[in-house]
Symmetry: C2
Subunit: 313 residues, 2 copies
DNA sequence: CATTTTGATAGTTTTTATCTATCGAAACGC
DNA sequence: GCGTTTCGATAGATAAAAACTATCAAAATG
């Protein structure tokens, strides 16, 4: 198997047609270069150079190998350049995963600004179901997540970013729709629609229904937030929906109205999740700062969590 | 600077996600692989792999370097494959030079047959002036020549292939045109046209003009054999032309006639020329045998020289 | 003909790559 | 919860490779 240095020596010999000058360019002595060329010819089992006193000439095999040797050296140089670039924390490509109930509403708010601040960083975004995303993060198919917290996997670290309140969504002619905000007690006896089991949101709404003595509907379970909204519009019941979804899809809807809770609104926490020991942890922390800054400035619907706090050790 | 082995180890780690299995595949011990990966990361100044007990994961930089590493390994494998192929004497590409007064007439006679016999060999043919070709041969721009002999360059070796007689070419109504062959004495007093000085043919015809007491024309010197032929057709004089040219260009000409000399016709020797010490000498000798065989069978106009004899030591 | 220059060889030294032995830490099975 | 197994890392020793200096024979040069 040839070595990269041997290919370097061969290319230098081809360029200079002179052993001593080639050796000089490669920063070795002439006997070293001569011996390494001989070793290369031995390893390849082919004569690459015709030696003479008038001037060194490549064989036809030598010429073809020199051409490929140049490509090898160029690619090795690309590897080195890439490594130099990647040392900058905000360079390269990262794979980001987000849950379906979040991605479409959060990404448009933050991606343009992140790209403006870090043009050298490329984010490849992948949506998926919660368990699927966690599995992919753990086995390295994804680099980090925007994900509802907490996360019960010991190999993962989590950094809370913001709290996304739930809003009360009712039909336009519902008595609650006339209120600027809603207290929990006003939900008593209401028919509460929510997503089918398996979603974090379902769990949360179930708890709230118990707390406020509302009736959790089992006759009509939505498969997505959009189908929930359509059922509310048809006056089948009311629902609780995340603030970013409301801002994106409900605010301009004419058949339903979204009202915030009074103080102490129920909310879900969204954070960044990565593998403990991840090499790009610094990158993730810088990204987290950017996300907080952007949301604080542009998105009053969520409550940004400022403190830098990672779950687990 | 990374080494090829280090890139191999990295690629194996990427494929197997396990240091011990990667080491096994690379035929080294696990500590060796671990240390070499560490050394690679040191040389590149970048972390390529996240180590953990659950499973090994590449960093984003690591992934990109693995992709380029695969290309490097693929190209090195191509180099090895090329070397294996080139060990066969009749493989690869050679650059052949021929003088203008020979190439167009000799190549069509021998190339198809050579290609049939040696499909793995490619000949890149270049025409040029004699001195130019010899210079290019000496400094490696050309690999070998078909060339008139002898050649006075000590760094070159020559192998005679055939003798190409000169024929008398006269206008169709010239008295010599009625003869089946011509003796030298019949040329006495004739106006002999030939190429301008600088050509081997000029020298040869000048000597013959002296010998036969013909008049070497200085008023009309041709720049090519074609222009000579046209002047003969216009009855300006007669000329002496090489047999292969005659076969190719004169035999079907209606205004001129070509007659061979009686026994002991003047001729020029054509041979193969290469650099002394050339790596492909075996290839050249095999080619020479092919050329002799083809000409013996198909081209009675030339006298093939059978003995294997190289000029100089 | 003397001197210089070229690529090759021999012996030595330095550096690198590999080994074995063993480590600390985490995962696994009972 | 504890003993065992497995993982990647480290230390020291050894082998191999790469580099050096000194010098060679042969050819080119002046």
């Amino acid at each position: 198997m040839p070595t990269i240095k041997q290919l370097q020596y061969l290319v230098a010999i081809a360029d200079h047609r002179h052993f001593r000058r080639a050796a000089e360019v490669c920063n070795v002595t002439q006997p070293t270069l001569s011996a390494q060329l001989k070793e290369l010819e031995l390893r390849l089992g082919a004569t690459l150079v015709e030696r003479s006193r008038s001037s060194v000439v490549l064989t036809s095999t030598g010429r073809e190998i020199v051409a490929r040797g140049r490509r090898v050296l160029a690619e090795v140089e690309e590897i080195r350049a890439l490594a130099r670039l990647a040392n900058q924390p905000m360079a390269g490509t990262l794979r980001l995963g987000v849950v379906q109930s979040l991605g479409s509403y959060l990404m448009p708010l933050i991606i343009p600004d992140i790209h403006a601040r870090e043009p050298g960083l490329r984010l490849y975004i992948r949506e998926g179901l919660p368990k699927q995303l966690l599995d992919q993060l753990e086995d390295g198919a994804i680099d980090f997540l925007f994900f509802p917290l907490p996360v019960e996997r010991r190999s993962l670290a989590a950094l809370p970013l913001f709290e996304e309140p739930l809003l009360v969504v009712a039909p336009i002619n519902h008595e609650l729709a006339a209120s600027r905000s809603v207290s929990g007690t006003q939900l008593r006896g209401e028919n509460l629609l929510t997503l089918e089991p398996g979603h974090r949101l379902y769990e949360q709404v179930r708890i709230l229904a118990d707390e406020y003595e509302a009736r959790l509907s089992h006759d009509y379970e939505g498969t997505s937030l959009d189908t929930l909204r359509q059922m509310v519009a048809m006056e089948i019941g009311i629902s609780l929906m995340p603030a970013l979804y409301v801002r994106s899809e409900v605010a301009r809807e004419t058949l339903v109205m979204a009202m915030p809770f009074d103080d102490e609104a129920p909310a879900r926490t969204v954070g960044m999740v990565w593998r403990k020991g991840a090499a790009r942890e610094e990158t993730f922390r810088i990204l987290a700062r950017h996300v907080r800054t952007i949301l604080s400035r542009d998105v009053p619907e969520v409550r940004v969590i400022e403190e830098d706090k990672t779950a687990a050790p």
